[in-house]
């Protein structure tokens, strides 16, 4: 059987490059996929004061009505916290503000501010309550859904695109179906081409989204145990798991754990990993 023709679409969204692929799909499917990403981004970004997430953050201390998508993502965040033993904690916004990360880095790196004294994050279930159709944050708490949203969206988007599609949202990707030639979707993974089907992959890194504050180099990956940018002997972790959301959680947790603890943590949870 000849391979299905692959259609693709590339665009900038979520502060990164996104790529959608489909085998045997109409190009319009990918256009609708892009529109869905942009729509979700507008609601889930913390950088726009009118976004749904920003309004939830601003309403800390009171119950706030949330959409189905945000509710699902908040529940996914609580699962991620459990899966990672507390290492993936989306209530990281105050810590990010403490290092001056107040706006998208494409608008310039933070400067002219001192690093605030870090404070360990409280467990996510203590600061975030989710009920059907509404959510509540403890006063002073704030969420940045960041990479977790990308992984979650990649999973949902691959499903929306069709039975044989791949959604890559800034390195968090979900491959669905048998790919163009029936052997899976060929994905570059640490320089090796792996064939993914019904699988996700993600990379967590401190090599990007990093900047200098005085003599101190800071980056966006906060360690919830300290509230400060992670101090790990690893600078990058890539993972293949059962979904993009899971891969995102495991990659971030591995990076925070460091090389000695990462391998036993990943074994049994992931299908492939690269630590560097």
């Amino acid at each position: 059987m000849p391979p299905d023709e692959v259609v693709s679409r590339h665009f900038e969204a979520l502060g990164t490059t996104c790529s959608l692929f489909g085998a045997g799909l109409a190009p319009q499917s990918l256009e609708r996929g892009e529109a869905w990403v942009r729509s979700l981004h507008a609601r889930l970004t913390r950088f726009e004061p009118d976004s749904e997430l920003s309004r939830l953050n601003a309403a800390a201390g009171a119950w706030f009505p949330v959409s189905d998508e945000l509710e699902e993502l908040l529940r996914e965040s609580l699962r991620a916290w459990e899966l990672s033993g507390g290492l993936v904690n989306v209530a990281v916004l105050p810590a990010l503000r403490g290092i001056g990360y107040e706006r998208p880095l494409r608008m310039g790196t933070p400067g002219g501010v001192e690093v605030a004294a870090p404070v360990a994050l409280r467990p996510l279930p203590e600061v975030l309550e989710v009920a059907p159709g509404r959510a509540r944050l403890e006063p002073g708490a704030g969420l940045d859904l960041g990479g977790l949203a990308k992984g979650w969206m990649a999973d949902r988007l691959a499903e929306r695109l069709g039975e044989n599609a791949l959604a890559n949202l800034g390195g968090d990707l979900c491959a669905r179906g048998a790919g163009p030639a029936g052997e899976g979707w060929p994905v570059d993974f640490a320089g090796v081409t792996v064939m993914l089907r019904e699988q996700g992959a993600a990379t967590s890194s401190t090599r990007k989204r990093a900047w200098q504050m005085g003599v101190q180099r800071v980056h966006h990956l906060i360690d919830p145990r300290t509230g400060a940018p992670a101090d790990s002997d690893l600078t990058q972790a890539s993972v293949v798991a059962s979904s993009a959301a899971r891969a995102e959680v495991f990659a971030k947790a591995a990076l925070l754990l460091g090389s000695a603890a990462a391998t036993p943590y990943l074994a049994g949870r992931c299908q492939a990993w690269w630590l560097g």
């Binding site: 692929f21 064939m195 560097g276």
Partner: protein
């Protein structure tokens, strides 16, 4: 007399089964140096440690995309 023979037979059978089991188990102790299951492929790649379990297949084809830091 018949009951005694039956009891002795049952006892002998039990002892034989126990001895046989003990002999089998002693000859099949856990091998600490046995390979991992599932076997994993470990290699140095791109300046780091790459681990691939059997559920991930590699191929000599061009990738359409990659997982990367963003």
């Amino acid at each position: 007399m018949q009951a005694l023979v039956l009891k002795a037979g049952a006892t002998a059978l039990t002892i034989l089964a126990a001895l046989g089991s003990a002999t089998y188990v002693s000859g099949h102790v856990k091998n600490g140096s046995a390979p991992l299951h599932p076997a994993v492929l470990s290699a140095q790649a791109a300046g780091g440690q790459l681990i691939l379990t059997p559920s991930v297949h590699t191929a000599d084809v061009e990738a359409v995309t990659s997982t990367h830091a963003s």
